[in-house]
Amino acid sequence: MHRRLFPVLSGLSLCFFLVAPVLIVGAPYESTMGLVQKIFYFHFPAWMAMFLAIFILGISSGVYLFRRKPAADRLAVAAAELAVVFGLMGLITGPLWGIKAWGVWWQWDARLTMAVVLELILVAYLLLRQYGGAGSDRLAAGLGLFAMANVPFLYISTEIWRTVHPRTSVVPTLPVDFGVPLWWSLVGFIVLCLALLSLRCRLEEQRAMLDQLYLAVEEE
């Protein structure tokens, strides 16, 4: 991963996050949800950043599995950790919305259940990386592919079942006043995700390099 990528991306995401509050405060009050509706400007972008991270995890896992490129494996670990973080953000902001909209913190409906399941798979991935020992990288790559295969089910879950969660079609049909701050924070979250990804990838690269140096010293 290129050394200059992180400063550029993090600077860019900082710009987005500095302007985002101004746009969010400026957006009109939604009539039924009131102030709580503003959670949406974090909740939706957090899930989208998680989906991005999962797709990066899945694709790089596939590349590692079939092409054996170590760089792809490093990218996969970094993406998996970020997917857990952004997923956690979505799982925390979701109930805050739920207590106002539904009167309860949690509903066992299809969308929410699938979201928890996906988060669990990612945590399992990290556990496997941590405790699997030697050779667990390839097993983890297999699991990464399964995690990616679950995303479409999560995405369409609001379309198949009648759930309490707002449908996916809400987002493209938003009025401009709500839409601008939403898309702005979405881009901010995606850039932040990519910035953290580049940083985490560099850490893995340095670790791999250090391991190689240790091996070289031992051989001498």
Binding site: L120, I121, G132
Partner: protein, 227 residues
């Protein structure tokens, strides 16, 4: 294709012969499944009456837990005398080996599930057999979904140190959708007024999941098992 199926059948035949001689997996898995049903019976009985709607969950959880036990054992066996290496060294398609192991496990689990389904129907007084074929189809599809992922993960973990801990940790999150569909579909079948349309929806979803999981497992078995 013919040869592929032939190899898969040979692996099934080998597993069946080993099992027929020891009967270890069948008896331990069956006993474990029955104990789970009994444990749940104590958990879900109030004042001598079973809690309504618990039976479907008990049936599927017993399937999942005993299935995990069988999955762990199926590949543990291959570790003795480095049998797995021999199997992988054979000049055959690797996915055929996977398919063979999967079918062997499915045969075992179907025996166990038959006993468990009868037991749950008897103990909790649920009309499982009112729509017997539907339940059969649902259980079969659910077991295929669960075991197809399980066989792959169990094979992947066979060389790992902490495999006994990691198998359930990896398996349950991935297969929870199958369990949700199975439990919901079974509940739709056994409730006072069976909802066949709902059951059909869950069955088609199970089929969809099975197709995705099985394809993914067959596709990844080869690279995952290569040393």
């Amino acid at each position: 294709m013919n040869r592929f199926l032939q190899v898969a059948w040979l692996v099934v035949w080998k597993d069946l012969r080993v099992e027929a001689r020891s009967k270890e997996m069948l008896f331990t898995t069956l006993f474990f499944a029955i104990s789970i049903v009994l444990v749940f019976s104590f958990g879900f009985v109030r004042a001598g009456q079973a809690v309504e709607g618990a039976a479907a969950g008990i049936l599927w959880i017993a399937m999942a837990f005993s299935g995990t036990l069988a999955l762990g054992r199926a590949f543990e066996r291959e570790r003795y005398h480095d049998a797995l290496r021999g199997l992988l060294l054979a000049p055959v398609d690797r996915p055929a080996i996977y398919l063979g192991k999967l079918v062997g496990l499915l045969l075992l689990l179907s025996l166990v599930e038959t006993v468990v389904a009868v037991l749950v129907a008897f103990l909790f007084g649920v009309p499982f057999f009112r729509h017997g074929w539907w339940l059969f189809l649902m259980l079969s599809l659910g077991t295929v979904g669960f075991a197809s992922v399980g066989t792959l993960f169990s094979a992947m973990l066979v060389r790992t140190r902490s495999r006994t801990v990691l198998l359930p940790v990896l398996l349950y999150p991935v297969t929870i959708p199958v369990l949700i569909m199975g439990v919901s579909g079974t509940t739709a079948l056994v409730q006072a007024e069976p909802d066949l349309a709902m059951a059909r929806l869950w069955i088609s979803l199970l089929f969809f999941f099975d197709t995705v999981f099985l394809t993914l497992a067959l596709w990844t078995f080869e690279p995952v098992m290569t040393e």
